[in-house]
Symmetry: C3
Subunit: 189 residues, 3 copies
Amino acid sequence: VSSDRRLGAPALLGLFAIGAAASLVGDQGHVASGATRYLDHGVPFIWESALWFPLMVGAGTVALAAVRLRLAPARSDLGLREAAAGIAAVSAIYAVTALVRDEPLGPATALVFALASLVTARFADDRSALVCGLLAVVAGTTTEIVMSAAGVFEYAHDIDPLAGVPPWLPALYFSFGVVSARLGEVFSR
Amino acid sequence: VSSDRRLGAPALLGLFAIGAAASLVGDQGHVASGATRYLDHGVPFIWESALWFPLMVGAGTVALAAVRLRLAPARSDLGLREAAAGIAAVSAIYAVTALVRDEPLGPATALVFALASLVTARFADDRSALVCGLLAVVAGTTTEIVMSAAGVFEYAHDIDPLAGVPPWLPALYFSFGVVSARLGEVFSR
Amino acid sequence: VSSDRRLGAPALLGLFAIGAAASLVGDQGHVASGATRYLDHGVPFIWESALWFPLMVGAGTVALAAVRLRLAPARSDLGLREAAAGIAAVSAIYAVTALVRDEPLGPATALVFALASLVTARFADDRSALVCGLLAVVAGTTTEIVMSAAGVFEYAHDIDPLAGVPPWLPALYFSFGVVSARLGEVFSR
């Protein structure tokens, strides 16, 4: 454990790339399943996503990792295996949220919250990771509610009872925040 | 490891509340997906469940935890993280059994048994946890077969070839028994 | 860790039986969901599978386990719990590939690759397990492409864009290879 670990330029770039790439894959799932639909096409698209989406998730990954390192000492014994497991875990939950698009919202939401709890139990070492999870929930969910209300994109109306977003969305963001915190530890030096 | 660990009144209450709450969420999934249907409406309901259902699961959680502590010494190094992971794991399987309601019964059952095996490999330390799993299978499956035969509730007929209940039901109960045993260890003192 | 661990006759038989049995369960799922269809019925069948299929998977399990032990020293501290977890993990992914048969191929593939990554992070100790994973991908995917092209069986056409097989197939084989390598360690002496 070291209290002065930081993110160098390659780490910042790597974290941004991981967040952006994983968000493109996840968003393709949401678009393909009809969970979401982009309404504003006056922006460049990359694969199935409006360009701003991977940029925001990539930047969010970097920001959460940096916040994590500010909050508490980081473990120095974590390697690529830990990073791969964390990225895979969040990507799996992201894919699940697309695959349950036509299922009843109750058990779909229960499954996503249960999986997010497993991710938290596995990847959150201390309170700082939970803080990152909460930050991701507040920033991510609020942003999506606002952009959905503004007509930039929308969730399918049968899954959007939470002010225009699905009830499983906070759990997806929480797991994203917890794993971004862990990636901060892995990529720091 | 201590051989004289017991459940105090707050622990008993906590275990009952966990089992009851998790069963309400899981049962909502079964009702929403059409996996189950209550036929007897001459009893009070809470959310989507007949009142006796969460009471039975809550009581079962307490009973299994107590049996576990009778059978073998308990670990004393388990905390809330372990409890959260166990509850989340069983809740995830419970939600999966609702979400696969319209899928072919073969792969649905294979998935639930595989997930229950993973839960067992992760949470069952010794034979006493397996005994709790088997107790849960026998008591739970038998109770559901009898109550289904008595016309109190029913499973959808395309998923009920096992004397009126689905073939994945024993695996769900086994994981419930194994995790209840682990919760007994966590909540004992 | 021991560098001269080998597979005795009971181990070879056990590995063959595990691979064959798991493949029968998994293949039943693919046939039941309509993911695959046997076109050549001029061979004996067992359950829903042409006889050659469980024989090939059983033999592949043995071969991969043997290759693993040739490549690097084996851990000697792995027991039945490890074997059960590995078999359950691959069986769960196999069942998932059947259950997502009617879902959009993008998120279905993302989920299977994410789960295979989790299996790899959990069960692959070193490079030798990754080699076994790659061997399984090359041999398994190639065999299925050839047999599908030869009209022996086919995948549903809406999920077969990868030369006649689904894009998630390599990930399923990779996890099979990684776990077979681990089973080699467990069953060696």
